[in-house]
């Protein structure tokens, strides 16, 4: 991947939109203590159910209103980005590493290793993924680490399947034969020659996986299996807000909007990068 590929990517509207969303998420996550107007855990029962700024009866200092315990919604949303992004980055990285290595080994070695990995992936993908992560977290125990672990255990197959298929294509290329003919061993050929050619695919998969991870984390928070309740996660906010949907509709709608925009942005980024980096789609 060279300079022109990057320049082409930055001219793609989907990539730009995705990068903007990602930058916003990163800003909120990293700068939460500086940006958030209030402590997200601070309760103020006298100011509970304050409406957002476009409604009558807004309480000063609570731009997006407050929840049933008087906690500031905007601050909770900003801190929620922190949890969402942490889960997204760590689980996408780990799932990517595991899936890529197994896919690379299976695709390049062929034979028995390929048979084992491929069957494993088949079995894995026979489970409904969300159900599998719920069961896993139920077994491992709730908490952020458990959520990340569950996502990795479920989603490495996404990387594995696609990397394996791609390696099968690359393996037949003349440059691989040329690399073997200068005496490079199988691991050097796989990790140095082939893996570099998979980089565009991996970037796209990583981006899409971040979006998936955010959704799964929200689902697990919603069913109360993620971080301790009270801590500001988007899924948790949805679960709590659901109870007051008739009195204060924004409590549930705002975090839903955050999730939609984040996932939309990450998917757009993945799609855009696929258009600009993947030679098959580009043609």
């Amino acid at each position: 991947m060279d300079e022109t590929a990057w320049r082409r990517s930055l001219g793609n509207p989907r990539v730009l939109f995705g990068l903007a969303v990602l930058a916003l998420l990163a800003l909120a996550a990293l700068g939460a203590p500086l940006i958030a107007p209030q402590n997200p855990l601070h309760q103020d029962l006298l100011a509970s159910f304050a409406p957002p700024f476009w409604h009558a009866g807004v309480v000063p200092g609570h731009l997006l209103g407050t929840d049933d315990l008087g906690r500031d919604t905007l601050s909770r949303l900003i801190y929620g980005a922190r949890i969402a992004l942490t889960v997204a980055v760590i689980s996408a990285t780990a799932a990517g590493l595991i899936g890529t290595l197994l896919g690379l080994a299976a695709g390049y070695a062929g034979g028995l290793p390929d048979a084992i990995v491929s069957r494993l992936v088949d079995v894995w993908m026979a489970f409904p993924p969300v159900l599998l992560s719920i069961v896993l977290v139920a077994v491992i125990g709730a908490g952020l680490e458990a959520v990340i672990l569950a996502i990795v255990i479920v989603d490495w197959t996404r990387f594995c399947r696609i990397v394996r298929a791609e390696v099968l294509v690359q393996r037949e290329q003349d440059y691989v034969a040329a690399a073997v003919a200068i005496g490079l061993g199988p691991w050097r050929v796989a990790l140095q020659e082939i893996l570099r050619n998979l980089l565009p695919t991996l970037i796209v998969l990583f981006t899409l996986e971040m979006g998936i991870a955010i959704t799964v984390e929200a689902i697990l928070s919603f069913v109360g299996l993620s971080i301790a309740s009270g801590a500001p996660s988007w899924g948790g906010m949805i679960a709590e807000g659901r109870l007051y949907i008739h009195q204060a509709w924004w409590l549930m709608t705002l975090p839903v909007g955050c999730i939609i925009v984040s996932v939309l942005g990450l998917n757009a980024l993945g799609d855009g990068l696929r258009q600009t980096l993947d030679p098959l789609v580009r043609r």
Binding site: Q173, Y175, A177, A178, V180, I182, G183, L184, R196, N197
Partner: protein, 304 residues
């Protein structure tokens, strides 16, 4: 003293079981140091497979079922991976057929040349880079510094083939397999590349296995010729003898089918179908005789 390369009775099949297709039917070749052997034949004769078997880059479905490939008296085909890989690139090298696809598209030229130097000569990064620059000069690339920084897609076909030739000669190998090294290039570039290969070969006294379908090229570069058809060698002799007194009717037919500047195109006669049909029938009879003799076909004894 054994020959540099001696291929003995090499049999190769593609596929297994009943679907096994014989590709090489007992190839014999001898190549001494510094010699240039032309391996000639039409498409499907199996000439490329000989080169690939020698370098251990056969497609996954292909298997050597019988015979030996002796390099300096050692059978490469039966050698474990580690010592074999140590020979590849250092003693044995390849100039591939298609320069457009034989360089890794995402690695700069510098990386691709220094890889082989660092692998086999144990050079430091800097020393390898200097050697790579000198190698590019030796294949007559102007501005080697700029080319080293470029990616393959930024180079023309002729330039890429020069880079691949530089890689092939990088460690001063004793034997190079050149598989139709000029086929994918423009006619004008073909001549330059051919002269370059011939000059480098002559200067380094490297032996060359030159795989081609073009008898014109054989006349220009080779000292010996082996004519192949249907996985068999029909005739093997010094170039002068093959060109003046071809022994096998198929060789004569190939000459008649080769375009020449001093003959009108109408004078070309394709290889007679009766002749190729006879040769294929001979090959089939050979397979049948082997099967009848109970030689393992497709890795199992043939059904009686």
């Amino acid at each position: 003293m054994s020959a540099l390369l001696e291929i003995r009775d090499l049999h190769l099949e593609i596929g297994t079981g009943r679907a096994a297709l014989p590709v090489l039917r007992g190839i014999d070749l001898v190549l001494e140091a510094g010699e240039v052997l032309g391996l000639v034949g039409e498409s499907g004769a199996g000439k490329t497979m000989v080169g690939k078997a020698l370098l251990g880059i056969l497609p996954p479905a292909a298997r050597i079922t019988q015979g030996q490939i002796l390099y300096q008296g050692r059978d490469i085909a039966a050698m474990p991976a580690k010592p074999r890989l140590a020979l590849l690139g250092r003693d044995l090298a390849m100039i591939p057929q298609d320069p457009m696809s034989s360089l890794n598209p995402v690695i700069r030229i510098a990386g691709q040349i220094t890889d082989v130097l660092r692998r086999h000569l144990g050079l430091s990064r800097r020393a390898a880079y200097e050697r790579a620059r000198a190698l590019l000069e030796s294949v007559h690339i102007r501005e080697p510094e700029r080319v080293l920084r470029q990616y393959p897609h930024e180079l023309s076909g002729g330039m890429r083939q020069r880079v691949l030739i530089a890689i092939a000669f990088a460690c001063r190998p004793k034997l190079i397999v050149a598989d139709e090294p000029t086929t994918a290039l423009d006619v004008t570039v073909q001549r330059q590349i051919l002269r370059l290969i011939r000059d480098l070969q002559a200067n380094s006294a490297t032996a060359l296995l030159f795989v081609t379908h073009d008898l014109g090229l054989v006349a220009k570069i080779c000292t010996k010729v082996s004519v192949m058809h249907a996985g068999r060698i029909l005739e093997a002799a010094p170039v002068a003898q093959v060109f003046t007194r071809p022994q096998h009717p198929y060789t004569s037919a190939l000459f008649a089918a080769t375009p020449r500047y001093d003959r009108p195109a109408e004078a070309l006669t394709p290889v007679p179908e009766a002749l190729t049909a006879r040769l294929w029938a001979e090959a089939a009879a050979y397979d049948a005789a082997r099967a009848a003799a109970g030689v393992a076909v497709g890795g199992r004894a043939a059904d009686a």
